[in-house]
Point group: C2
Chain length 309, copies 2
Amino acid sequence: MRKIVTAALQMGPIQKSESRKDVVDRMISLLDQAKAAGATLAVFPELAFTTFFPRWYMENPAEVDTWFEAEVPSAETKPLFDRAREHGIGMYVGYAENTSDGHYFNTSILTAPTGEIIGKYRKVHLPGHSEFDTERDFQHLEKRYFEPGDLGFPVWHSQSGIMGMCICNDRRWPETYRVMGLQGVEMIMLGYNTPAVNSQMPSEGPEDRLFHHRLSVQSGAYQNATWVVAVAKAGIEDGFPLIGGSLIVDPNGKIMAESKTLGDEILVHSCDLDLCTFGKETIFDFARHRRIEHYGLITERTGAEVPPE
Amino acid sequence: MRKIVTAALQMGPIQKSESRKDVVDRMISLLDQAKAAGATLAVFPELAFTTFFPRWYMENPAEVDTWFEAEVPSAETKPLFDRAREHGIGMYVGYAENTSDGHYFNTSILTAPTGEIIGKYRKVHLPGHSEFDTERDFQHLEKRYFEPGDLGFPVWHSQSGIMGMCICNDRRWPETYRVMGLQGVEMIMLGYNTPAVNSQMPSEGPEDRLFHHRLSVQSGAYQNATWVVAVAKAGIEDGFPLIGGSLIVDPNGKIMAESKTLGDEILVHSCDLDLCTFGKETIFDFARHRRIEHYGLITERTGAEVPPE
């Protein structure tokens, strides 16, 4: 057995007015709880250091920059990384990345229990739009503030397993899981900020949103025989509600743990990576069963094209 | 609104001893019920004319041939096609196909309400194995009796919609839905024969099998904003149990109708194809959101390869 005691560290809302320091203090408190529970891996949400700022339309680049990290760890976020190293806990942390050469990504990093940063992922599937949209009940401007990720979907060896990352909307795209599945992934970590109401269809509320979230995560886990740990920033941020529903899902697609609140909350599960083996060697033994000669459109064509009648 | 009143025509078990004529009589009775319910589309199971013969190990080619159709319709199956035409019902029907040039496929065809055969699909994802397996509780010899389908995943214009087909194990593979999604599919029809116990893990019984079935069908529907109609051959065939759980799933991934029995049973739902539009134009607008530059492994690599440490 290769067990990783894994903590999903859901975070409640972060208001615009809260400082990085306030947030990092909360994250350290969650990390202490993870340590007390015996965890060696902690998964934080997407954009964990700030409010979900893409809901705000901004035109001033200097204002936009205040939501991004120019370096990680910075003076303000270093105490989190120090504490994780002291605890011997590897971390997934999401943040807004401003590169030294002027690029902007929705990013996550993976650290080893030794504290070393061993992996970086940049969100590939950016939802939303880039200009102010008068048709929506609220804005979702990820395509305005971020470039699509340029690192693909790599995997990393850590804590005896093969680890992968993605972020929020990536989880709705089966390509995300499959590209990692084709590299033998055994645990996919992801953070998310998901509005509790569809900005383009007000009748689609939190129950529907949680249903789609679970459906996407559970099917991705099952169809690639991998653990998936999905962690929310939840609750009401400056009047805008986000779903909770953080999940630890096993390689059979079953929910092993699920959050109950919309606040800071810890889920812990001992994830046995050897449970991935059965699926990977039988029904999802890709080498025996996949037929790539019929999958061409998936990489040839971006959008849908209806064939002529 | 483009509504297709659709009948999922679940079939109970077919024993080895039952004749084609007996089976066709049952199918005609189901078709009559579909007509009475106002349906213009009827979906039958995989291998609808016979027992699920791949559970039997056979070495004699002449014996194998008895389970295949050399022509469709044949003298024995023609009454079904005649009745469908009389009723003005288009059909999906699964059967074992023996081509005139010596090939063997697990096939389905689509007819128009006029009776014309307008589409053929051959199962791409064959589960199971090709030689007698002493490690299994029972055999699943699809790889022995069938070649993988050679027609890809086409779609067809019929009844004002864009229709696709797949068969049984295809539904567990997100590539199946996505290739059709990239052609704008609005309704995917599939039949299945799914053992109620995993032949390689006896503890995985009907509840787990139904869970995986629903998860695969519902996620495929949601992630491609398409209707999916999934129809079982169910119940105990010569001592071997098959799950039921026939489903009509909407483009939101929600179950609109589900079978309650393991016998011949009809589900009817009026499927509004225009409900596909919202998903296809927003969260799953592939042209805006897919990033094919990061999907390369899906078509480059058949099996999983773990990168070096």
